[in-house]
């Protein structure tokens, strides 16, 4: 069994039958959405298994050992382990495609069309023999952007790559990845089979030397994208300024010596020639210094002695160079032990070295650099440049002009970084297509195409529920986090939430689509941001980022107490849309509403709910046309939901591109029955929230599913928020819920002002004091009567003589206790000695 064919091991006799099904198979797989999260899980699990103590390590080491020395085999597996971590793969996606969700087709705000990085489709990877890491990582790269991958290995290659693919599938939580990979051992002479593969290819990614590449080029059908990763040539360059400065000179010598020793120059980025911007004497001086440095440095780097063809090549080159020494053209400096060789050559031009710590040393005149190097331009890759600050600009530009794609520090030529371009391109862009879609008018308001697609099935979530305390315990990296927000604080204890920049921006992007769904039109609205800023609070900056993502016009006002200043700006700058916190917005309209009528068309709020009466006040009295939640989100969990024009009250669509939602019962950890109110548990895609991971996080809100499809056509499920878990309190006997008090004021009396419950002790009794605003047209007695009438539990506690008292009190603005940072009005203030609820 030599071939791994989409999850099954098959042998040569059944390969042709399998190949004949390829076309049908591709037609079935390609329209599916790729389960990227599953790939990341599987790759991380595989990385863990490749730990030297891991379950797979011994097996893979044995496979690589078939052709590689032990040290090299260990090095390759360590590199594979590092490259497969979630962090590395996400870094690659973000670095090369600018985002962690490559398959998303999103609007290019503020313009109308959508664009996305879609897989090429079927990618055939043509691998040279014995390149373990390249085969495995080439496959992973192809998967990362959602391609179906057909990896063609040499017929005599080991089973490493095939077993690698199998190991990845075994760790796939969703069981779908197998549809995206086949690894075949084919000889180059198996033309018919190769032709079958190429005939189905959307792209062919080929590695190898010139002749292998030419053969692939000839075999690939017209129009199929050929991505060629040919061999490259690198060199070091020491500028004359660097030669003049003792410190830079010493560093350059040291760096070149190290680059010569690392990987025995086997990397395409290893230097083969070092150019010295000097005369013959200067070149000789550098050579002597380098030889001196190598005596010390070479033994510090473990290496392989060349054998066979490599040794023959070195002997040939040295033999010719020694003969040329008698012509005065060269000087050979050799380690007595044969560990390294320096070949000073007084002729110009870049020369390939026979490697294994062999380097040409040549003079270069800066004015001739471009013309000297350009003939080799298609093979040039890295220049290890030793230069001073003054020369860096012109030298780098000239090197790039000559064809170099990468300039590195001497000593670090073979190093790279996550998301680095390769040979002048991002690999992932070569394996993707940039598609565009100009959608019909009816789809306006849709920001991401997959809002209209059935959600990708997720593997069932298991494990403990993460509560606020648990979340805090995970937020331990405050010192290293990119962004630290203060979260909540109503409880009096300062609580933090951290984000990386990448996660923050990805989540804001998702939230931006939600705001568009709610009715913001980035191409025409002029939006004032009235959220709270400062005090480590996240709402103002989040909406700043959201509006920036949308490229909408923004007026960054903030949550100011001076309503007149805000209104002046709204009127003079003609802000037609506001984003802000409900209690602040209501205050603004109470004071300045007359001026704002006819100017403010849209209000998007977040942080607190609006009561029905409050909504009516804004729409009917002040003529606000669009009044919707800007986002359902929090500082700790990020954006979780959005509203479409069909979402009434606190109904939201789940922000399915970011979050998974479970609703479990209030009193036990089981999924709720249809229509039953329960606790909301959010799980953020690990692609969009690295640390702290948010898995089954109990956000503190309660809600229930809406199981009818939304008329807007979006497939993100809908849920209704019904309150805070903290809205429930115990006083005297049964559970009460603050929301229910407020709903009665809203629905029975049309009260649109602020309301708050204060709990305090009075001797042995619990006092439930409902505070409402004076001057809002409602008396305390009216309010108390309505509550007693519509809240039977209140009546029951009072009449049954429990340790309970209910009161209503009219207060001015200072009688409401607000959260300093956000201006939010907590529904319940519990000042009892020992909280009961």
């Amino acid at each position: 069994m030599r071939h791994f064919w989409f999850g099954e091991w098959i042998d040569d006799t059944t390969l042709d039958a399998a190949l004949s099904t390829l076309e049908t198979r591709l037609a079935a797989t390609l329209p599916q959405r790729f389960p990227l999260d599953d790939l990341l899980d599987a790759a991380q699990a595989l990385s863990d298994a490749l730990d030297p103590g891991g379950s797979l390590y011994a097996r893979f080491l044995a496979l690589v050992r078939q052709t590689q020395p032990l040290d090299e085999a260990r090095r390759l597996l360590a590199a594979a382990r590092g490259a497969l971590t979630r962090e590395a793969l996400l870094g690659k996606l973000r670095g090369e495609l600018g985002q962690a969700s490559p398959g998303a087709i999103e609007r290019r705000y503020p313009a109308r069309p959508f664009e996305g990085w879609l897989p090429m489709g079927a990618v055939v990877h043509v691998m040279p023999a014995n390149v373990f890491l390249v085969s495995a990582l080439g496959l992973v790269e192809g998967l990362l952007v959602g391609n179906v991958n057909l990896v063609k290995l040499s017929a005599r290659d080991s089973l490493f790559a095939a077993e690698f693919a199998a190991a990845l599938c075994e760790r796939d939580p969703g069981g779908r990845l197998r549809d995206y990979m086949a690894v075949l051992h084919l000889a180059s002479a198996e033309h018919t089979r190769l032709a079958t593969l190429f005939a189905q290819a959307d792209a062919v990614s080929a590695w190898g030397g010139e002749s292998a590449m030419a053969a692939v080029r000839a075999a690939v059908p017209q129009g199929v994208r050929l991505v060629s990763w040919g061999h490259k040539l690198s060199f070091a360059y020491v500028s004359r300024e660097a030669l003049d400065c003792a410190e830079t000179f010493a560093k350059a010598v040291e760096g070149v010596a190290i680059d010569m020793c690392r990987l025995d120059q086997q990397a395409c980025s290893s230097p083969q020639t070092v150019f010295i911007e000097s005369d013959e004497a200067g070149v000789e001086r550098f050579a002597d210094a380098l030889a001196h440095a190598l005596e010390r440095i070479a033994p510090q780097w473990p290496g392989q002695a060349p054998e066979g063809a490599a040794l023959a090549e070195i002997t040939t080159v040295l033999s010719v160079a020694r003969a040329e020494q008698a012509l005065g053209l060269t000087r050979v400096i050799e380690d007595a032990e044969g560990g390294w060789r320096l070949l000073v050559d007084h002729r110009p031009g870049l020369r390939p070295s026979p490697l294994y710590r062999t380097l040409w040393i040549k003079a270069m005149r800066r004015e001739e650099m471009v013309s000297t190097l350009r003939p080799m331009r298609t093979w040039l890759q890295t220049c290890g440049l030793a230069s001073t600050r003054e020369a860096l600009g012109p030298l780098s530009r000239a090197l790039f002009a000559a064809g170099v794609t990468r300039i590195a520090r001497p000593g670090e030529m073979v190093d790279s970084y996550t998301g680095a371009p390769h040979d002048g391109v991002y690999a992932l862009m070569q394996l993707t297509r940039r598609v565009s879609l100009d959608a019909p008018e009816a789809s306006m308001g849709v920001g991401r195409l997959d809002e209209l697609e059935a959600p990708l099935a997720h593997p069932a979530l298991r494990g403990p529920i993460l509560d606020k305390a648990g979340f805090q315990a995970h937020t331990d990296a405050l010192a290293t986090a990119d962004l630290v927000f203060r979260s909540g604080g109503s409880s009096g204890k300062t609580v933090y939430s951290t984000f990386s920049w990448a996660d923050y921006h990805a989540q804001m992007r998702a939230a931006a689509h939600g705001l568009v769904a709610a009715g913001l039109e980035p191409e025409r609205d002029r939006v004032m941001n009235l959220f709270a800023a400062g005090h480590l609070y996240g709402s103002f900056i989040s909406f700043w980022s959201i509006l920036e993502t949308l490229r909408a016009r923004q007026l960054p006002m903030g949550l100011l107490a001076d309503f007149a200043e805000i209104a002046d700006a709204i009127v003079s700058l003609q802000a037609n849309a506001l984003v802000g916190a409900p209690s602040h917005l209501l205050g603004l309209f109470e004071q300045e509403g007359e001026r704002l009528r006819g100017v403010v068309e849209k209000i998007f709020y977040a942080g607190e709910p609006l009561t029905r009466a409050q909504r009516a006040r804004l729409t009917e009295t002040f003529g606000v046309r669009v009044l919707r939640s800007a986002a359902y989100g929090s500082n700790d969990a990020g954006p979780m939901g959005y509203q479409c024009p069909y979402c009434e009250g606190s109904v939201h669509h789940l922000l399915g591109s970011v979050q998974q939602l479970e609703i479990v019962a209030l009193d036990e950890d089981r999924p709720v029955a249809p229509g039953e109110v329960g606790r909301l548990l959010f799980t953020t895609s690990p692609r969009l929230r690295g640390a702290p991971a948010l898995r089954r996080y109990e956000i503190g809100d309660t809600g229930r599913w809406l199981d009818t499809p939304c008329p807007c056509g979006r497939r993100d499920p809908r849920f209704e928020l019904t309150g805070r878990i903290g809205d429930a309190f115990k006083a005297g006997g049964p559970f009460f819920n603050a929301r229910r008090f407020f709903d009665i004021l809203d629905q029975q009396l049309g009260y649109a002002g602020p309301a708050q419950i204060h709990l305090r002790d009075d001797e042995a009794r619990s006092v439930v004091e409902l505070r409402i605003a004076e001057g809002a047209g409602l008396s305390a007695a009216q309010a108390a009567e309505a509550v007693r009438l519509h809240y039977p539990e209140v009546r029951y506690c009072e009449t049954q003589g429990m340790a309970f008292r209910f009161e209503v009190r009219l207060v001015d603005a200072s009688g409401f206790q607000r959260v300093a940072a956000s201006g939010k009005l907590p529904p319940v203030i519990d000042s009892r000695a020992i909280g009961e609820g």
Binding site: P128, A129, N130, V131, G208, G209, E210, S211, A212, A215, G230, H231, K232, L233, Q266, C268, Q272, G308, A309, A310, L311, A312, E313, T315, T316, S319, V320, R322, A323, E324, Q325, A326, L327, G328, G338, R351, P352, S353, P354, L355, P375, M376, T378, W379
Partner: protein, 396 residues
């Protein structure tokens, strides 16, 4: 000038032992028979080049080569050799330009074509040697023959080595008709013409005149492969027909097939028996001819010593050990190429290991280019492509 003699007054008389050794008649003499003369001739030729080639004088000095120390075969074979690639990159002569009577061009690794120059003695000697080994192989014939040459059709200005070699091979039987398969299409470019080759062979198969196929084996392979692919029926070339291979699989190494396989196809598709397929090895940098015996083994002829050298030290290795193929011979007075390392890996076998029975000399098997591994060929490929696609370089 370091590339040619500076002293105009130097005697041009060929040293006695060199002259006598190169004049030996028998193509395959037991090496022991003339060993003393060989050593003496080598001592003379080393002194000749040290005296005449300023470059070799310095090289010999730097590498401790002194004629007076060359007193036995072992000392001669241990003398540091020069790599053939050096002569590809540099024009180095032990004669003045005007003394040259011929030159062969070779493509160099760094782009420029360089030339090997021959004086009368060297050229005459080399030709005589080729004649003798070809006679020994039974290639000589008085009967006219048709020639299918898998080589570059000559045009004015073409001086690449192979055409010369092919033309030289056409002396061994009078020419009836000739067809060059790499047709000159103008501007110095050549194209392989399989249709012309096919119709020539079909026509010649009808007659009685023997056919001789010479030149690059790759193109004969392509032609026969084409026939098989298109169902072209085999032909039976007239008795006495012959194939002589030279020039290797230049630039087509990845398409090379084993010699035995190609021979079988030749026998089946052209009707030429295996023993009439002649294998040769030679190069511009070393003109001694190496021609196979009936068992297809490349034997050392009387006038040279085949040495296989260590991959690291270039010192001779025992028979059976792979290493660099190299040759030592006093035949050349025009350039210091008397001890030369080739770009091929080979293994040498003692005379007794060949079943042919009529060649009392060791023989060698070429194992392939002494190049780099496929994985590291990036740099080399770059150099290779820059060099462009020149003609062949190996000759007899």
């Amino acid at each position: 000038m370091i590339d040619e003699p500076q002293d105009m007054s130097l005697d041009t008389t060929i040293p006695d032992a060199v002259r006598r050794f190169c004049a030996l008649e028998a193509a395959y003499a037991d090496p022991l028979t003339h060993e003393a003369l060989f050593v003496e001739a080598m001592r003379e030729i080393v002194a000749w080049h040290i005296e005449r080639s300023p470059w070799y004088g310095r090289f010999a000095c730097e590498n401790g080569i002194r004629p007076d120390t060359l007193r036995c075969l072992d000392a001669v074979l241990h003398m540091p050799p020069v790599h053939a690639a050096f002569f590809k990159a540099h024009e180095i002569r032990s004669i003045r330009r005007e003394q040259a009577v011929a030159h062969l061009t070779s493509s160099g690794t760094t782009g420029q074509k360089t030339q090997m120059f021959f004086d009368e003695f060297t050229l005459g000697g080399a030709r005589r040697m080729v004649d003798r080994v070809m006679q020994a192989r039974g290639v000589w014939s008085d009967a006219p023959a048709h020639y299918l040459v898998n080589g570059y059709e000559p045009f004015e200005g073409l001086t690449v080595g192979t055409s010369n070699t092919n033309q030289y091979l056409m002396r061994y039987a009078p020419v009836a008709e000739t067809f060059w398969t790499l047709r000159h299409v103008g501007g110095g470019r050549h194209e392989f013409d399989p249709f012309g080759a096919t119709s020539a062979l079909e026509r010649w198969a009808q007659g009685a005149t023997p056919v001789r196929l010479i030149g690059f084996p790759a193109y004969l392979h392509f032609l026969l492969e084409r026939w098989r692919d298109t169902g072209h029926p085999p032909v039976k070339l007239p008795p006495g027909s012959l194939v002589v291979f030279g020039g290797g699989w230049k630039g087509q190494a990845d398409k090379a097939i084993p010699r035995e396989v190609l021979q079988a196809y030749i026998e089946r598709q052209l009707g030429i028996p295996g023993e009439r397929v002649v294998e040769t090895y030679g190069s511009v940098e070393h003109s001694i001819p190496y021609v196979d015996c009936r068992a297809h083994h490349l034997h050392q002829p009387t006038w040279s010593r085949v040495v296989v050298r260590d991959l690291k030290t270039l010192r001779p290795v025992p028979d059976g050990t792979p290493g660099f193929l190299s040759f030592v011979s006093p035949y050349i007075t025009s350039a210091p190429a008397h001890s030369i390392v080739m770009g091929d890996l080979a293994v040498r076998h003692p005379a007794g290991e060949c079943v042919c029975g009529d060649h009392p000399t060791p023989w060698f098997e070429v194992l392939g280019r002494a190049g780099m591994s496929a994985n590291r060929s990036c740099a080399a490929a770059a150099a290779e492509l820059l060099k462009g696609h020149n003609g062949g370089e190996e000759g007899l």
